[in-house]
């Protein structure tokens, strides 16, 4: 079990090798398959997370949730997507047609690209990049540009307000997000995801960096535009924000991308703070990738819990909280971490 996926990859590689393919072509094909597998996982998981969200929210709200399509309603979201595909994709008369169409096409690009460096299990990382964390931070904020573009192209006032909020939110929350991770980087001295996980073999960083984790958690909610920071959509205020004019599959793409982003920030939280695929209490008989997914889904559940409990903050409160609370706190965290590390080294604590 532990080496299920790793040995599968090795098997495919040897199969291709025996087929007389050159080294380079084998590498290329295996890489292609690995990324394909991740792609399928993310898309399917986004689909099922919608189901999970609906079930979780239902139980939190004394309801039952989807229970008609398929066993326990498991096929509900599949049916929903089927419906959305068959619906007309309306392009508003005054919209900037090219940009409007480009929005839903591009929106999946950043999360999918980042998953290439996500370590799903022991040895299960598609590309073990030595600047993995940096790569994640660089790409994750790209979705802002895409959402902003979609809102701008819609030529709708609600969309425009929503787009402006995306930018404002990104500017205020990308900072604490990055700064909260810096603490971890100071401790490990590396940007490589696998190395960061190995560094947590003795103690998870959530215990060494509790403040960092908290700041990351809050900033991550804002990063994914979910409640209490769902100002971008702000259903009761600005209808659906930048996605107001999108219908059919265009809307579904944005909707699913939100879940892909949730998976993404949860994967990062797991990697950086929760020990990644490391098994707690020496329970190594459970494969590492199961541990990883367990932690990821625990984080996702936490995000859903937030969403169905908290009301929405106001735009000025959001920025105030970001700049006046989270940024100073994360800088203080870096400071304390640095001093701690220095003392640890010089005094040999």
């Amino acid at each position: 079990m532990e080496n299920l996926f790793v040995s599968m990859a090795a098997g495919i590689r040897s199969l291709l090798g025996s087929g007389g393919l050159s080294e380079w072509a084998t590498d290329f094909l295996v890489m292609f398959l690995k990324l394909g597998a991740i792609l399928v996982y993310i898309l399917v998981s986004a689909l099922w997370l919608v189901y999970m969200e609906r079930k979780v929210s239902a139980y939190m709200q004394c309801r039952i949730g989807p229970n008609r399509v398929g066993p326990m309603g498991l096929l509900q979201t599949t049916a929903d997507i089927g419906k959305l595909i068959s619906k007309e994709f309306i392009i508003p008369k005054d919209a900037d047609k090219k940009l409007f169409l480009l929005g839903p096409i591009l929106i999946f690009m950043p999360p999918l690209a980042v998953f290439a460096v996500a370590p799903f299990g022991k040895g299960m990382v598609a590309i073990d990049m030595n600047i993995g964390v940096y790569y994640f931070l660089a790409l994750a904020s790209l979705s802002t540009v895409i959402i902003w573009m979609a809102g701008w192209a819609s030529n709708n006032k609600y969309s425009l307000i929503g787009s402006m909020r995306v930018v404002a939110q990104m500017v205020s929350y990308e900072m604490p997000l990055i700064l909260s991770i810096v603490g971890v980087i100071i401790l490990t001295g590396t940007l490589n995801m696998s190395d960061i996980i190995h560094a947590q073999e003795n103690v998870w960083f959530i215990f060494l960096q509790p403040l960092g984790f908290l700041i990351y958690l809050i900033a991550a909610v804002a990063e994914t535009n979910r409640a209490p920071f769902d100002l971008v959509e702000g259903e009761s205020e600005i209808i659906c924000g930048p996605f107001t004019e999108y219908s059919g599959m265009g809307f579904a793409m944005f909707f699913l991308a939100e879940y892909a982003n949730v998976v993404l920030v949860s994967v990062m939280a797991t990697t950086l703070f929760l020990g990644g695929w490391l098994a707690p209490f020496g329970l190594t008989f459970i494969p590492s990738w199961i541990w990883f997914l367990l932690k990821v889904y625990l984080m996702i559940f936490l995000f859903m819990w937030f969403r169905w409990t908290y009301p929405r903050v106001r735009v000025d409160q959001l920025m105030e909280f970001g700049w006046k609370v989270l940024v100073p706190l994360s800088i203080a965290n870096i400071f304390v971490t640095g001093i701690g590390k220095y003392l640890y080294h010089s005094l040999g604590w």
Binding site: Q61, K157, M164, S236, E237, P311, R312
Partner: protein, 366 residues
Amino acid sequence: MTLKTEEFLLNLGPQHPSTHGVFRILLTLDGETVVKAVPIPGYLHRGIEKLAESRTYTQVIPYTDRLDYLAGMLMNWGYVHAVEKLMNVEVPERAEYIRVIVGELARIASHLVATGAYAADVGGLTGFIYTFRDREDIMDLFEMISGARLTPSYMRVGGVADDIPDGFIDKCRQFLDYFPTALDEYNGLITGNEIFQARTKNVAIISAEKAIEMSLSGPVLRASGVNYDLRKARPYSVYDRFDFEVPVGSKGDCFDRYYLRLLEMEQSAKIIRHALDQLPEGPIKGKVPKVIKPTAGEAYAEIESSKGIMGTYVVSDGSTNPYRVHFRRPSFVNLGYLDEMLKGWKIADAIAILGSIDIVLGEVDA
């Protein structure tokens, strides 16, 4: 290149998730800040007052259900109260008690919707579902007593349509026993939430003077610290026989208006409990002729509805149909100050402020 900014118009509604129906506000915005607001009601105008002129006095009752459809019982009451005043009809005691019971139940139901919808306006959808879950019990009680859930048409001139059915009192008591738990839940989920408080406290403060000047009434008035509740100030029906308090807010901000409704629900539950205990035996309808034909004249009567003072003005020309009926709809009057209140706040606040007034479009537009 020079960059310039300009204000822009945002048409909020009539199709909008949180205008509580088909209300429309034309906002002039400077970024996210409201510079000017022009409320435009009227999208749900059905001409109830005009329709009433071509119906008999009893036939008007179902129309009143459709005014404030979240508290149909109270609307019925306001109307029959005026007709009774016009005809000088004595309402039997038992009928008055039943009216108080269903009226206060309707007040709780209406405030539950206001509370839940307010949570949803501020962005927490779960609160909405919680209050609707408990409102369901009241709807069931209404179904038991009148056969309808939302539009009961239960009151009649001189009394009520039917005596309370078997099992109603037990079920009502059950609900009252359970209700404090529900209130605790709302306090935990909505009232106590830091974000909710940050969003509502000190937002759109109405001073007591301004509230009186704008003729606001109901929770919106009392949240500003004015202790004026018709049930206490000018008791009608049998309200003078119950021991209850009128909760009053201190600041007059959105939070006070929201929280006052929770406190009022507590008091309403207290009144219902008293009324159930004291419920006398006897007839449920006074001596009213089969054909209601008041002598020419006019009457104006007011009751304290869930949204404020609900007044009904009835003019009779001696025929079977009212010559003119006019309703003083509290939601509509309370909206009068909205344009001033919205100025200077953000779009998100605009929604929260509108929600805190708790309007029902059926009542605003009549």
